[in-house]
């Protein structure tokens, strides 16, 4: 399946292109304060996945009960095939940082995230998959990042949402080979792909979700699809939204990469 991340500015194009879009990924937080009728309409027309941003699985201690309840309500309405969150923390005991930050790749953190992932999946009654993030920090740990992802997925018995753009960006900023990284993963865990164009700021690569997917990213996605039984590819975009024709063209590029069943 090939689809897009649902964003309100793309709504007209999405609703008028339902025959060309296999699936949609809903960002749970965008529906925490309402728009449930839109969600029900999306559920009628599309296969859905629900993606969370702020459950902060990497924070020690209990999950935020209020956020989890909001998330579960969105899941209940959307009835997705699976749900997803990030291998990250967005809050500490003191502060809500408002964005995804890296966790130390060690066994203790793998256990913490896996336990939180299981709790979310159990609470929502849906399978969960977890996504790798971009980070400009490299944190010390006793596991490599692929071994850490494998350990979390094994302990939680969950899948991996491989963000190929995040992998590419990290590989450029931290100077490692993305294919070596990829081939250290357990391929059977890779369920879904994210793709969006990267940006540059000086000598750094960044993830601003505002550019079309570049050719190097398509090449990497092709490698992932050859390596793992990927079930869905989601095209993301959160800023500088192009017109309907450009979105359709970009989706078609992904569909050629990942032929429809």
């Amino acid at each position: 399946m090939v689809g897009v991340g649902y964003r309100h500015p793309l709504a007209n194009w999405i609703f008028s292109s339902s025959s060309d879009i296999d699936c949609l990924e809903i960002t749970a937080e965008h529906f925490f304060s309402g728009s449930h009728e839109t969600l029900r309409a999306l559920r009628r027309d599309f296969t859905l996945f629900v993606h969370g941003l702020g459950l902060s699985l990497g924070t020690p201690g209990p999950l935020d009960a209020k956020r989890l309840a909001h998330f579960a309500r969105v899941v209940e309405i959307a009835d997705p095939v699976w749900i997803s969150e990030h291998l990250a923390f967005t809050r500490t005991a003191e502060t809500d940082l408002g964005h995804l930050n890296p966790v130390r790749p060690n066994r203790a953190t793998a256990g913490l995230i896996a336990d939180h992932a299981r709790e979310i999946a159990d609470h929502c009654g849906k399978p969960i998959i977890l996504e790798n993030i971009t980070s400009h920090l490299r944190l010390d740990g006793d596991l490599s990042e692929p071994d850490f992802l494998n350990a979390v997925c094994t302990r939680a018995d969950c899948g991996l949402l491989l963000d190929a753009t995040n992998l590419f960006i990290n590989s450029r900023n931290h100077r490692f080979d993305p294919l070596t990284w990829l081939h250290a993963l357990d391929p059977q865990r890779i369920v879904q792909l994210h793709l969006v164009g990267y940006a540059r700021q000086g000598d750094r690569y960044t993830d601003d979700h505002a550019h079309p997917v570049q050719d190097e990213l398509l090449d990497l996605a092709r490698e992932v699809i050859a390596f793992a039984p990927v079930r869905a590819v989601i095209l993301e975009r959160d800023a500088d939204f192009p017109g309907a024709a450009a979105m359709a063209d970009e989706l078609a590029r992904l569909q050629r990469l990942f032929p429809r069943a």
Binding site: G58, T59, P60, F89, R91, T92, A93, E94, T95, D96, L97, G98, H99, N101, V103, R104, S135, H136, L137, R138, L139, D140, G141, R204, T206, A239
Partner: protein
Amino acid sequence: MNSPASNASSPALDFQTALGRLLTDGPLRDRFRANPLGALHVEPADQAALLALDPDDLEFQARILLRKRFVALTPLLPATLASLGEKAWPLFIEAARPQSPISATADALLFCAHLSQTRPKDLNRREWRRLEFSAASVRLRLHILWSSAALQILWRHGQGVREWLLRLG
């Protein structure tokens, strides 16, 4: 040189709490760059991980978080941001880098206060007053907007805020 012992009166932080502070407190990052273990009192087991943080990477990651906070101002201060154009982002960094995030409204008010000191002509006072009123608990407030020669009336009803602008003269 400072040492962790100099902070012995405060409890030792775990690594993630220390990282959270570093990512949300610009002056702390400056102190960390100068003297990592003097800036934060972390648990002994976490000192090596803290020392392994690259200050430039830390600053870049912190700017990513600041940028998220900046983008959240767009619906709150559209006129002010439009007036500032590309100057808005560096001005927001000046204002928000020393401040931990609380909410988008708090950031917007912080930014307005900063502009009132540094670039008062670019601050849309009508927007600022409306935002202040939204964050307060009073029912009615009147402001004279000298730059537009108008009386701004703000009134809270139920969950919302109504606004009228009466031209003076």
